[in-house]
């Protein structure tokens, strides 16, 4: 598998996005988000998205203007930004700044990022808040991709939720970044490719019955049945409906084809009390979890986000291994757009 230094991959991603119609600052922000995901081993949310993003810009479902989203409403510790289908990184980065500013004056700040585009691995945004010593919470909401508990077909999105907790200067933040689906769609694709059955509880067939045959999958199941389904619906409420850009209701009613919204909530631990005590207790909890005996079959007990941070340390040093298919698809796009392929990924002799 070809491997590439993160800086080189970032430069390549930025060049591809710029050549593909992104304004330069939007390309820079998007490339940084995508390579962050690759660094942490979340390759499904990394540079493999670039060809689709370029296609979305061509089709107008993503619009890159190179300007930040406009503030259109809000009062007190609440702001509403409207992105006009801007790249997700641009909309969410702006929301991070606004939420952090609000938290500085009000202790907490809630910033809605309405009508943006796909925002990828949202742990990127909550991590930015944690790096400033703030607790970060983020959610994004999009069109139907999984089933509603007890119903046939796709009705809800796999809407993710991320929470990041700063753990002091000498530790990585504790970073939860989870979708509300039972499993990522990619795992079902992989089972299909390998001719393997999938476990019960991952997906349902066209009648809404649980299936172990990847060829019969009609919809992903929510995690934990009604809990995942309820949580995904609430993320749509808190992220889309509250911000005035409902997605699921209109799509199910047939009056809209899609949509994408995000929200960022920043919380300043200093508004609650003494921040040294907060950092010490976060560290104590992290240490207590690490000290738990591992269950039979488990190598190590890990904190949320810890595996990703460890992968990032290795990949920052040794380079990011890119799947051959991803590398080939990027090379094809580079050829089409006249972008130079970095030496590390150039397979021609």
């Amino acid at each position: 598998m070809p491997s590439i230094h993160p800086d080189a991959l970032r430069g390549y991603a930025e060049a591809l996005l710029t050549a593909g119609g992104f304004a330069s600052d939007d390309a820079r922000q998007t490339a940084d988000l995508l390579v962050w995901a690759n660094l942490r081993g979340v390759d499904s949310h990394g540079v493999l998205r670039i060809p689709r993003y370029v296609e979305m810009v061509e089709q107008g479902s993503m619009v890159s203007r190179g300007t930040p989203p406009r503030e259109v409403g809000g009062r007190g510790a609440v702001r509403v930004l409207v992105g006009g289908r801007c790249p997700g990184a641009v909309g969410m980065n702006a929301a991070v700044e606004v939420a952090a500013d609000l938290a500085a004056s009000h202790g907490i700040g809630w910033c809605a990022a309405r009508a943006i585009s796909h925002a990828g691995a949202i742990g990127y945004f909550t991590s930015k808040l944690a790096a400033r010593g703030l607790v970060g919470i983020a959610m994004t909401a999009s069109k139907p991709l999984m089933s509603y508990h007890g119903a046939i077909g796709e009705a809800l999105s796999t809407n993710p939720l991320s929470v990041a907790i700063p753990a002091g200067a000498s530790r990585q933040p504790i970073l939860l970044d989870m979708s509300t689906a039972a499993v990522a769609l990619g795992k079902i694709m992989a089972a299909k490719d390998a001719g393997r059955d999938i476990p019960e509880g991952w997906a349902v067939d066209a009648e809404g019955r649980t299936t172990t045959d990847p060829d019969k999958v009609a919809a992903l199941l929510p995690m934990a049945g009604p809990k995942g389904s309820g949580l995904s619906m609430m993320i749509e409420m808190l992220t889309s409906v509250l911000a005035g850009n409902a997605v699921i209701g209109p799509v199910l009613a047939g009056t809209k084809k899609g949509g994408f919204n995000g929200m960022v909530l920043a919380v300043d631990p200093a508004a609650f009390g003494e921040t040294d005590a907060f950092a010490a207790e976060v560290a104590r909890l992290a240490d207590a979890i690490h000290a738990l005996p591992a269950a039979s079959g488990t190598d190590a007990v890990l904190l949320p986000g810890e595996r990703g941070a460890a992968t990032a340390a290795v990949r920052a040093r040794d380079g990011i291994p890119l799947a051959a298919g991803t590398s080939a698809r990027l090379a094809a796009l580079a050829g089409k757009l006249g972008v130079a392929i970095p030496e590390a990924l150039d397979t021609t002799d």
Copy 2:
């Protein structure tokens, strides 16, 4: 099964709590919370808790003074209340009021309720916010009751999360109230009593291996593996650690035996935009979910909280059926405390 009118059960609960050492206003608030759970069919969080609450007051792990919790900190849209082990209903009701006031001035309000006692069915508190047209979010955190993903033994609590969305004057709010465990402990007890196996994924044995034998259960599993585990840990962070009363870290380190905290976040939809449009979109989403075709084996596609609301309507009319064991335990306590048993529950001839 004996059945009793909710007003009569509320009066009985209040009398038992008062005779058992609760200040009168604390007894009133706690009785209302417990009977709300019984009305909605969540009997595990209803009046069956009374004997244990009275015992906790006797032992000093719950302290009923009849005064609201004190405000000890916070700035902007954040407040910290300290309850001094007050009954959970008293601490959380106060947090609801403070959060709603903060939302009126700042658009959102986050109120920590530190060092309270068991708060029962927390959907009660978010429902109160929804009844005022606010979005309500609440969480509570307590001592280890379930396992951490991949570890042996009890390490995290089953910390619940509730979100309530107001749906306009003519509809019930949409009410999610979920624990972070795979299953309620009561379901494992019931399987044990019935001599039945439990499904894989509910619980683990003493080595941390999944078990289907209810007699071998050493710890509940979190819902959806690392997701439930991560979410429960984050609720401890947001509810306990942020408010300056960590529970899990100190308990695992052996320096504390327990603890209980809650938080309430109130969000005013009017801070984001036009509230009529918000209510209309909430209704549209609810209608779209109702219109989904039911999966094979499912009677009806229900919204979060809808089953509870339907049960409450029936029980408000026909009375609340109380399990014979619950009724007998309350009667024994009534005998001990000199409280009159309501006619509907009196089994003596």
